[in-house]
C-alpha cells in the first residue's frame, strides 16, 4: 500500500526538530574550528 502523503505534521515542528540537533552539532563544529589555530600554534 502506498500512502498518499498528506502532511499530518506542522512544518514548523520538523524545522524545530532539526534545529534541536543541528544547533548543538553546530556548536561542536564551531568549538572545533576555533581550536584549530591552537592545535597548530
Amino acid at each position: 500500500m502506498t500512502t498518499p502523503e498528506k502532511p499530518a505534521v506542522n512544518p514548523a515542528l520538523a524545522v524545530l526538530a532539526w534545529l534541536w540537533v543541528i544547533v548543538p552539532f553546530g556548536y561542536g563544529l564551531y568549538e572545533l574550528l576555533i581550536k584549530i589555530p591552537a592545535l597548530f600554534g
Binding site: M1, E5, A17, P24, K35, I36
Partner: protein
C-alpha cells in the same frame, strides 16, 4: 485497554506523518550517547583531582569508560530482542534513564569521594543506556527509509561518532565554569559538571522518545517499489542463521578484525588529550596545551564520525574485504609513522591520527554490510549483536594497553612514553589484516534451506 505511553502501538504514525522527523529523533539519542567518546575530558579532570597522586591513576580513570563499552556490547547483544519487541520509544526511555542516571550517580560518587560510584554509575548503568540507545533508533530508521537505508543509518551512526564533538567542549567549558579541575585541587567542579550534563542530556534526549514513530503496517514511501531495491542491492542469495554463524570461522575471523581495529582506535581516542599533551606539551603554557588537546580530541571525534559514512560508503564499490585491508593495513603504517616520527612533525601526527580514527569509525559502520555479505540478511541483526561483543573486549583491551604502559613509562618524557603501546597496536592491526585476508565465503553446509524467509533486519550498527 489503551496502550501504555511506551507501547509500540501508541507510536504508530498516522497517515501523512513526515518520516523526516525520525532522523532528528534518532540523533537526539545518538548525539547524546556518543558522549562516551568524550570521556577523555572527564578522565583528565578526574586524574588531576580525585585520583591525583594515585600511581594507577591512568588505569583507574579509564575504568568507567571501559566498563561502559563492555556494557554497551553486552546490552546490545542481550536486549536486542526486547528492543524489537517493545518498540523504539520504550528503548529510548530506558536508554535515556540509564544514561542520565549514570551521570547523576557519578556526580554523587565524585562529591562524596567514592570513585567506585563513578565506575558503577557511568560505566555499568550508563553503559546499559549506551547499548540500548545504540540499537534502538537504527532499526526504526531502516523501516522508515527502505529506499535509502544507507543514508538513514549513516546519519545515526555519524551521530554516535559526533557526540563527542559536542560533549568535549561542553565538558571542558562546564569544568572551567565551576572552577576548573586544578591539579591536586577540589573535585567539586567535576561533580557539578557530571550533574549538569546529566540534566542537559535528560532534556535533550526527551525529544527522541517524544518524536519517535514507527510506520504503520504495510507503509512504504510514495512511489517506491521494493522490487527495484532488491534488484539493485548487493544482497547475498544464501542465508546463515545466527546459531550457525557463530560456528563458522568467518564469524570469528571478522570478530578478530573488528576487535583489533577497534582496539587500535580506542586506545588513542580514550587518552587523546593526555597523548597530545605528552607529545606536544613541552614548553607550552598549561592553558595553551589544554586548549590544543581539547581541539585534538574534538578533531578525532569528527574524524571518527565522518569515517563512518565516508569509508563505509566507499565499501560498496570497493568491496568489504578490500576496504578492511585498507583500514587495517594503512592503519598499521600510520601507527608506525607516529611511533617513528614522534613529535618531530605535528602535521603528520595529526593527519595520521585523523586517518586512524576515521578507520576506527568506519570499522563499525562497515561491519553490518560485511556480515550481510557473508551470512545473508536472515538474522543478520542477531549476528551483529553477537559481533558487538568484540567491541566490548576492545573497549577493555585498547585503553588497558595504552594506559597501563603509559603509567609504567611515566618516567619517560614525550612520545617515547607510548612507543611500546603503539608497537602493540601495530602488531594487533597486522593480526587483524591477516584475519581479514583469511575470510572466504561461508561453507554451503551452514546455509539455510532456500525457503527461509529473508527479513530486512540488517545494519543495526
Amino acid at each position: 485497554m489503551p496502550a501504555g505511553f511506551l507501547a509500540r502501538e501508541r507510536i504508530v504514525a498516522p497517515p501523512g506523518w513526515s518520516r523526516w522527523l525520525i532522523p532528528p529523533a534518532a540523533l537526539s539519542i545518538h548525539l547524546a550517547i556518543g558522549q562516551a567518546y568524550a570521556w577523555t575530558a572527564f578522565k583528565t579532570a578526574l586524574t588531576s583531582t580525585m585520583l591525583n597522586g594515585n600511581p594507577n591513576a591512568g588505569v583507574l580513570s579509564a575504568l568507567p569508560f571501559q566498563l561502559a563499552i563492555v556494557m554497551l556490547g553486552l546490552s546490545a547483544a542481550l536486549f536486542g530482542t526486547q528492543v524489537d519487541a517493545r518498540g523504539p520509544r520504550w528503548a529510548m526511555v530506558v536508554s535515556s534513564s540509564c544514561f542520565v542516571a549514570g551521570f547523576l550517580i557519578s556526580a554523587l560518587g565524585v562529591s562524596i569521594g567514592a570513585y567506585w560510584l563513578v565506575v558503577l554509575g557511568y560505566g555499568f548503568v550508563g553503559g546499559i543506556g549506551l547499548g540500548i540507545g545504540y540499537i534502538s533508533p537504527v532499526s526504526t530508521l531502516i523501516k522508515w527509509f527502505p529506499d535509502r537505508p544507507g543514508l538513514s543509518t549513516g546519519i545515526a551512526i555519524m551521530g554516535f561518532g559526533g557526540g563527542a564533538l559536542i560533549a568535549t567542549p561542553l565538558t571542558n567549558q562546564l569544568l572551567a565554569a565551576f572552577g576548573g579541575a586544578v591539579k591536586g585541587g577540589s573535585a567539586s567542579p567535576v561533580a557539578s559538571t557530571f550533574l549538569v550534563m546529566g540534566i542537559i542530556y535528560a532534556v535533550f534526549m526527551s525529544v527522541g522518545w517524544l518524536l519517535i514513530r514507527v510506520p504503520a503496517e504495510g507503509w512504504r514511501p510514495a512511489g517506491w517499489d521494493p522490487a527495484t531495491q532488491t534488484a539493485g542491492a548487493m544482497i547475498s542469495t544464501k542465508n546463515v542463521s545466527a546459531a550457525n554463524a557463530i560456528r563458522t570461522p568467518q564469524f570469528w575471523l571478522l570478530w578478530v578484525v573488528l576487535c583489533f581495529n577497534v582496539t587500535a582506535g580506542i586506545g588513542i581516542l580514550e587518552r587523546a588529550q593526555d597523548i597530545y599533551t605528552d607529545f606536544f606539551g613541552a614548553g607550552v603554557s598549561p592553558a595553551g596545551i589544554a586548549a590544543a588537546a581539547g581541539g585534538f580530541a574534538a578533531m578525532l571525534s569528527l574524524a571518527n564520525s565522518l569515517g563512518r559514512i565516508l569509508w563505509s560508503s566507499a565499501s560498496d564499490p570497493l568491496g568489504r574485504k578490500r576496504i578492511y585491508m585498507i583500514y587495517l593495513g594503512v592503519g598499521a603504517v600510520l601507527y608506525l609513522a607516529i611511533t617513528l616520527l614522534g613529535n618531530s612533525n605535528k602535521v603528520v601526527f595529526l593527519i595520521c591520527s585523523i586517518f586512524i580514527l576515521s578507520f576506527y569509525g568506519a570499522g563499525f559502520a562497515t561491519a553490518p554490510a560485511y556480515l550481510r555479505d557473508l551470512f545473508g540478511t536472515y538474522q543478520v541483526g542477531a549476528i551483529h549483536g553477537r559481533l558487538l561483543t568484540a567491541w566490548s573486549v576492545a573497549g577493555v583491551l585498547g585503553p588497558l594497553i595504552v594506559n597501563a604502559l603509559a603509567d609504567a613509562n611515566k618516567g619517560i618524557a614525550g612520545p617515547g612514553r607510548y612507543t611500546t603501546a603503539f608497537t602493540i597496536m601495530i602488531v594487533l592491526l597486522v593480526i587483524g589484516f591477516v584475519a581479514n585476508a583469511l575470510i572466504r565465503p561461508v561453507n554451503a553446509k551452514f546455509h539455510e534451506p532456500d525457503t527461509t524467509t529473508v527479513t530486512p533486519e540488517g545494519a543495526q550498527a
